[in-house]
Structure formats: C-alpha cells, structure tokens
C-alpha cells in the first residue's frame, strides 16, 4: 500500500512538472486597461496571432 502511494506520488509529480513546463512554453498575451482590468487572450482569440507575430518581430530585432 505504501509502495502504491509512493508510485502514485512520483507519477503525479512528474505529470505536474511536465504540464507546467508545457504551459510556460505557450505564448501568452495580456492586455491592461485604464480602469484596472486585464484581459488574457487565448491563442484562438481574434488578434492573438498578430500580437504574437509582432512580439516575435520585436524579439528578433
């Protein structure tokens, strides 16, 4: 029983680390407004691809 719990912890921990690494590699777009609100665009949101492309242009400058 103890071995099973340790194995579950090991597998679960590894999956969590992999999931976080994958998330950090995804492009993220955040827009901040004068009323204090913030919008985070998903990849499928209108304009997100254009923003990501423009940012790549800036990083390549």
């Amino acid at each position: 029983m103890r071995r099973l719990a340790a194995l579950a912890l090991l597998v679960g921990g590894s999956l969590l680390v992999l999931a976080r690494r994958r998330q950090s590699q995804r492009p993220s777009v955040s827009l901040y407004y004068d009323d204090g609100s913030m919008v985070t665009l998903e990849r499928s949101a209108p304009g997100a691809e254009r923003l990501v492309a423009a940012a790549r242009g800036a990083l390549g400058a």
Binding site: S24, P27, S28, Y33, D35, A54, A55, G57, A58, A61
Partner: protein
Amino acid sequence: MDADAALADLAEISSQVESAVVLSSDGAVLGSTSASNATAERLAEAARELLAAALEVPTGSTRELVQLEVALPEGSVFVVRDDSHTVAACTSASPTSALVLYDLRTCLRALSDQPESKPPKRRAGAADA
C-alpha cells in the same frame, strides 16, 4: 527628463530589460538602448504593430489600453503608454512581469516630468524693485 536619460535610468534599475525604445505620441523614435538606429527602428516598428493589433482587440467597452505583455518561450515584450509617450521593452524568457511593468511605468513618468526651469540670472548692478 529626456528619452535617453529615462532609458539610462531604466537600464540601471531593471536588470531584466534587454532592450527598450521610447516613442512619441505620433510613433517617432525618441530614444533607444540600442546603439544601432536600424535595431531601434525595428523594435519601434514592432511596438507600433503590437499597439495597433492590441487596439483592434474587441473589448466591448470604452476602456483604454495602457499596457500589454506578450510572453513567448524565447522572451517577453512589454509596451506601456500614456498620452504623450510609449515605452516598449524586450526581456528574456519568464521575467517578473509586475516588476518590469512597474519599471516601465516609472520610465514613462520620468518622461512626462517637466524639465526643471532655471531661475533667470540676475544681472550685476540690477536694482531691486
């Protein structure tokens, strides 16, 4: 404070900013941390494109965009703006976003500060009123 001085301060206080550019309200480059004009212009062009793209995002209200961040695996790009200036900066991957945005807003405030006006020099022998 002029753009070069503000950018020099930004480079000093923010270790995460790798390159930055200051634009006027009409998009002209006022200063850059890059030694090359071509590099500064490319960064400025990208900043203008980022703002244009961000302004087209439907928000459903009359709120105004003041800053944006695009985070990519290869690095992040930040743009902050007010009525008279825009500051754009590039950082390495996974920066401390809130800190970078704070430093960029500090730079923007420095740009908006009026230069200190020197008191007029008194001529020797001028009679006091």
